[in-house]
């Protein structure tokens, strides 16, 4: 069988120019054999979800270091529903306090990684969760 690599969109949203973290994650996922689509900075939630739909991505990783996570994460969740793409694994990372992370996970963000999270943990999470999404349907 001709196995297709997992495809993941790594995104930066809103007025947040700190992309080192996003680039480090993008590289780690690439080195784990995934096809990573990087959106660049200053994306609107609608653009991020549109990208994931067109690229047939298995997952979206959103990095936010601006403090606007309680606004932007829910907007992406909303857009995923609006574009009938709720099955895409949505996860994120950034400087996000534990109580906010808890709330975001209740809203439908699959996982939140904070500074200090080992790269391997993130790679394992994406491999497992996006892999699960592949098995039933495709």
């Amino acid at each position: 069988m001709n196995e297709r690599p997992l495809r993941v969109v790594i995104a930066k949203a809103g007025l947040d120019g700190h992309d080192r973290g996003a680039k480090v994650i993008a590289r780690a996922l690439r080195d784990a054999g995934m096809e990573v689509i990087y959106t660049g900075l200053f994306q609107a939630p609608e653009q991020i979800v549109q990208t994931a739909v067109q690229e047939d991505a298995d997952g979206i990783g959103l990095s936010i270091l601006s403090g606007a996570h309680m606004t932007l994460f829910p907007l992406v969740v909303e857009q995923l529903k609006a574009q009938d793409a709720g099955d895409i694994v949505f996860f994120g990372g950034g400087t996000i306090p534990p109580e906010d992370a808890k709330r975001l996970k209740e809203l439908g963000v699959r996982e939140i990684f904070t500074p200090g999270a080992p790269l391997q943990t993130i790679v394992d999470f994406v491999t497992r969760e996006c892999g699960k999404r592949r098995t039933p349907a495709a």
Binding site: R4, P5, R27, A32, G33, E35, I37, Q50
Partner: protein
């Protein structure tokens, strides 16, 4: 999702269905879908964009999309980036330059990883073109991997091939090296504000003078893609080439080239997979490579 459901969604014009269909083609399962939709293809204009890394292919693509949208045309963009030969992963970043078109529903952008294919395209790029064509896009832009001296596959697949070059990166010998001169229908000197831009234009002209041109003579356009300068002229040159193809009937030859390219990709893909299986079982002791190759060929029944 079953193929039937996918086809239904595709015909209802859902972008997600197009995205999924391209994924199927990428994983070698596109046969039924492409076959079912093939009768709807043949309408789109296909433009190839190639050139060395950093020349501004994605920026030119974005400017051309803007121009086409201004004319009311819908556009599909396929951007091919290299896969890592080690991890097989890829970092696909061409979208960054196309950001202004992300939420335009008449623009569909797909990044493809080359997945080990040489020549600047991915194995399933031709299938992706067929699918975008069947979906109804007026213009399909295909941006190759940035390499510069070998991506001739694009000339087979696209009706008009644009070769972008930039000033200050090597002398005329680079331009003369096999392949690039012969595949261009339109040359672009991007970053035309560079002090060496005029020199590059002269070098391209003099390189062109050394070749025999039969029919279409490639046009040369200077652009500053980032500022949108020269894009009108580039679009006009592409349109003149398209008109030339249609008037002379050469368009049929181009369509046949694209068809042959697609068939070769599909056939090679299957042969390579079988070859890999046969090679795994070959022993390397007590046999010379020529004899082993003969044995492999006969095992493949070729």
């Amino acid at each position: 999702m079953t193929d039937d459901a996918l086809l239904r969604d595709f015909e209802m014009h859902k972008p997600r269905a197009l995205a999924r269909a391209i994924s199927c083609a990428e994983s070698g399962r596109g046969g039924d879908i492409v076959r079912a939709l093939y009768s709807k293809t043949g309408r789109a204009v296909t433009i190839g964009l190639t050139g060395p890394p950093g020349v501004g292919k994605s920026t030119l693509a974005s400017a051309l999309v803007r121009k086409a949208r201004g004319l009311g045309k819908s556009v599909g963009v396929i951007s091919v980036d290299p896969s890592s030969p080690f991890s097989h992963g890829a970092l696909l970043g061409d979208r960054i330059r196309l950001v202004e078109h992300f939420t335009d529903e008449a623009v569909f952008i797909r990044s493809m990883a080359s997945r080990g294919h040489l020549g600047g395209l991915a194995g399933a790029t031709a299938d992706a073109v067929s699918l975008m064509d069947a979906f109804g896009f007026d213009v399909i832009l295909i941006e190759t991997v940035g390499v510069g001296q070998s991506e001739i596959a694009i000339a087979e697949l696209a009706q008009t091939t644009v070769v972008a070059l930039q000033p200050g990166s090597g002398d005329s010998i680079q331009v003369l090296k096999a392949g690039i001169m012969e595949i261009a229908d339109v040359f672009v000197v991007n970053k035309a504000d560079h002090p060496m831009a005029n020199q590059l234009r002269r070098e391209i002209r003099s390189a062109m003078e050394m070749l025999q041109w039969d029919g279409w003579v490639p046009e040369l356009v200077a652009t500053q893609a980032l500022a949108g300068e020269g894009i009108e002229q580039l679009w006009a040159a592409i349109e003149r080439h398209m008109a030339y193809l249609n008037e002379t009937g050469e368009i049929e030859g181009r369509r046949r080239d694209a068809f042959v390219h697609q068939v070769r990709q599909l056939a090679m893909g299957r042969i390579e997979r079988r070859l890999d299986r046969v090679l795994e079982s070959e022993s390397s002791t007590g046999i010379d490579p020529y004899a082993a190759a003969e044995r492999v060929i006969s095992k493949l029944g070729l």
